[in-house]
């Protein structure tokens, strides 16, 4: 998927990322040849349902997968290849140049240390500055993520904060070493609507100020529309469509994207039967041949199940993995 040729190396570039889980009687390709690149200051949302491989992709980038997972492909962070780094160097990168926020801040924050101590610890480890100076930076960070009376909150334990505050504290922790890439794994899913929008706005604003690239993973079309520059729709381990947020929301090309949007409920649909995608996501261990979406696709034709699905790339850089998008109308199927 070629982007506009960047003057400096992209913040994050991923080529053909594949993750396989191998155990005794299990061999599953959770992520199957994902490629994208992301400039500084840009937000890519990976939109997909559970089991689509969106979270696994993020964990693979952070090297957080269990040891029976095999990761292949190429990952460049600020022009440096990540996956063949020695473990020690990779560990330094984590929480440094690339960091991650999670759905459950309670699980990501250590309950026995104060918020301030945790942020300071990260800074000390990565930058080797004194604890006093690190504490000062921690205070600045809490101010930055708009935690009210930050000086007091610095001395709080995670359980003493409300859900939204905890999420802010986790963002502060992730930003501690000014990462060039922030990975966000469903950070707003567990939050109330009024808090969710606050966190989305905060991330947008922080990005403007700090210029990091964000990979935002979610199943929520609404959150994706609020935060993304580009959206990649993921299904059964593959990107099936990538385009700007506007294109995805207005003119979705892939039948799965269309189905996902039409089954996203809103008030305007009152009294009407929802257009759903029939069936349920496929078992990754027994993917159908050809297009993995074909069994659920209302446009599916013979050609969909017979071979690798061609990828079409528009001049704007939008990508679709569907035979219907191929500009040769020979196989066009009546809707």
């Amino acid at each position: 998927m070629p982007d506009a040729i960047p003057l400096q190396p992209p913040a994050l570039r991923i080529e053909n990322l594949t993750v396989r889980f191998r155990r005794r009687n299990l061999d599953v390709a959770a992520v199957n040849g994902v490629s994208f690149s992301l400039a500084r200051g840009e937000t890519l949302t990976i939109l997909g349902e559970s089991g689509s491989g969106k979270s696994v992709s993020l964990k693979a980038l952070m090297g957080l997968l269990p040891n029976y997972a095999r990761t292949e492909g190429q990952v460049w962070l600020d022009g440096r290849s990540v996956l063949d780094m020695p473990p020690a160097e990779l560990a330094k990168l984590r929480g440094g140049a690339i960091s991650m926020i999670f759905q459950e801040p309670m699980a990501a924050l250590d309950p026995v240390y104060t918020i301030g101590a945790q942020i300071a610890e990260t800074i000390v480890q990565h930058e080797g500055i004194g604890r006093g100076a690190a504490m000062k930076r921690a205070l600045d960070l809490l101010d930055h993520v708009k935690i009210p009376s930050a000086a007091r909150r610095l001395k709080n334990y995670p359980h003493e904060l409300s859900g939204g505050m905890r999420q802010r504290a986790m963002i502060a922790l992730a930003l501690a070493c000014s990462p060039s890439v922030l990975l966000a794994d469903e950070p707003t899913t567990a939050l109330d609507v009024t808090v969710q929008i606050q966190i989305l706005l905060l991330l947008r604003q922080l990005q403007e100020e700090l210029g990091m690239a964000i990979v935002f993973v979610t199943h929520d079309v609404g959150a994706a529309a609020e935060i993304s520059d580009r959206i990649a729709v993921m299904y059964a381990g593959r990107f099936v469509e990538t385009a700007t947020a506007r294109e995805i929301m207005r003119t979705p090309k892939h039948p799965y994207t269309q189905g996902l949007l039409s089954s996203t409920v809103h008030g305007g649909l009152r009294g009407r039967v929802l257009e759903t995608i029939q069936g349920s996501p496929p078992n990754l261990a027994q993917l159908p041949p050809g297009c993995a979406f074909a069994p659920r696709c209302r446009y599916a034709a013979d050609i969909c199940t017979t071979g690798e699905v061609p990828v079409t790339i528009a001049p704007t850089g939008a990508m679709v993995r569907c035979v219907r998008a191929v500009p040769v109308p020979a196989q066009e199927v009546p809707a």
Partner: protein, 351 residues
């Protein structure tokens, strides 16, 4: 949607009588602590909640975590005992000498929970789980099992394939279908759906919502639909109840509530909804901070601490649920709990 269609032999008061009327429902949970396990505080989970559900309608209850919507559901099912309040089911006071017993009410009122996995016994097959309640009520094993298979088919699961499966062998959407079948096994008239679609993937959620509206028509059901998802509530409900920190702040027909919200909280809630349009993104926060702790909530109007219209009176008096001060109350159906006419006016204009 709200039309009461066929006659049900169990119907007593006729279509005009509400199926469920709740009056002054209250539950305060003690918070114990300290050396002698004394009560140190109170969580005012549900405080003076009143509403009614009409026959054949879907009443949506919407609110954020800690607003008391799930506690309300559990109080109605009597899974927890209310501190105060009267529940009247189709004219019969529940648990009253002159009314019906809690168990009799439970046969006509069932509930679907959010967590599709934990609400099924992991050691029972799907058919056993569905057949369980009728079995306990004296239906023979064979008949209850064959009815369970029929219900599986009704919720779109092939009984030949799923009747003898265990919960962990099904996907979330399939399990939730089983939970719906289980709730229908006693042939209830009212089904409480407590965040029943919230944990499902969007494509599955839409399928289950379609199923719910099919079943509603087929079995003549009335729904109490509890959710934090404003879009889903708008889609399914005929009337909506908005709750904040254990109290009802606004209620009315769905069109009226969503088009002209009068309460500052309702308006902020709706404004927090993602826009689904990358060109018209939300630019300012409708509210700051999290909902306050329901332990020791603010006096008077509970929203006043986050409300930009708050005045002195808001701290002193609990605002009663009353017709909007602008006089446009949709025939008495739209009620709002707010002291400040300016706030209501501004809200209505804003929206």
């Amino acid at each position: 949607m709200s039309a009461f269609t066929t006659s049900d032999p169990r119907d007593r008061g006729g279509p005009a009588q509400p199926l469920l009327t709740v009056e002054g429902l209250r539950k305060h949970f003690p918070v114990r602590g300290g050396l002698l396990n004394r009560q140190v505080a109170t969580v005012q989970a549900v405080d003076d909640v009143s509403f009614s559900v009409r026959k054949g309608e879907t009443l949506g209850i919407v609110g954020e975590s800690g607003c008391g919507k799930s506690t309300t559901a559990r109080l109605l099912m009597r899974l927890i005992e209310p501190d105060a309040g009267d529940v009247v089911f189709d004219g019969d006071p529940v648990g009253d000498r002159h009314g019906i017993t809690v168990n009799a009410m439970r046969r006509q009122m069932q509930m679907v929970f959010q967590d599709s996995y934990s609400s099924l016994n992991p050691r029972m097959t799907m058919a056993e789980s569905i057949a369980y309640a009728p079995r306990m009520h004296g239906v023979s094993a064979r008949e209850s099992l064959s009815r369970a298979e029929d219900l599986l088919a009704q919720v779109g699961l092939n009984p030949r394939q799923y009747a003898r499966r265990y919960p962990h062998e099904l996907s979330g959407g399939q399990r939730q279908r089983v939970n719906i079948a289980r709730a229908l096994a006693l042939e209830p008239r009212l089904v409480i759906l407590d965040e029943a679609v919230s944990a499902l993937d969007k494509s599955i959620e839409a399928q289950v919502l379609n199923l719910l509206s099919e079943l509603k028509a087929r079995f003549n059901l009335t729904y109490l639909f509890i959710s934090h998802d404003l879009n889903v509530v708008e889609y399914v409900s005929d009337r909506v109840l908005v709750m904040y920190l254990g109290r009802v702040v606004e209620t009315g027909p769905v069109e009226s509530i969503y088009a002209r919200p009068r309460h500052p909280y309702t308006r902020a809630l709706f404004a927090s909804k993602p826009t689904l349009d990358p060109d018209r993104r939300t630019t300012e926060m409708p509210l700051t901070g999290d909902p306050p702790n329901p332990i020791n909530p603010p006096s008077g109007c509970r929203f006043r601490t986050r409300c930009s219209f708050a005045q002195a009176v808001c701290a002193e008096l609990v605002p009663p649920l009353a017709a909007p001060l602008d006089g446009q109350d949709d025939g008495g159906a739209h009620l709002v709990a707010c002291h400040v006419p300016a706030a209501q006016e501004a809200m209505a204009l804003h929206a």
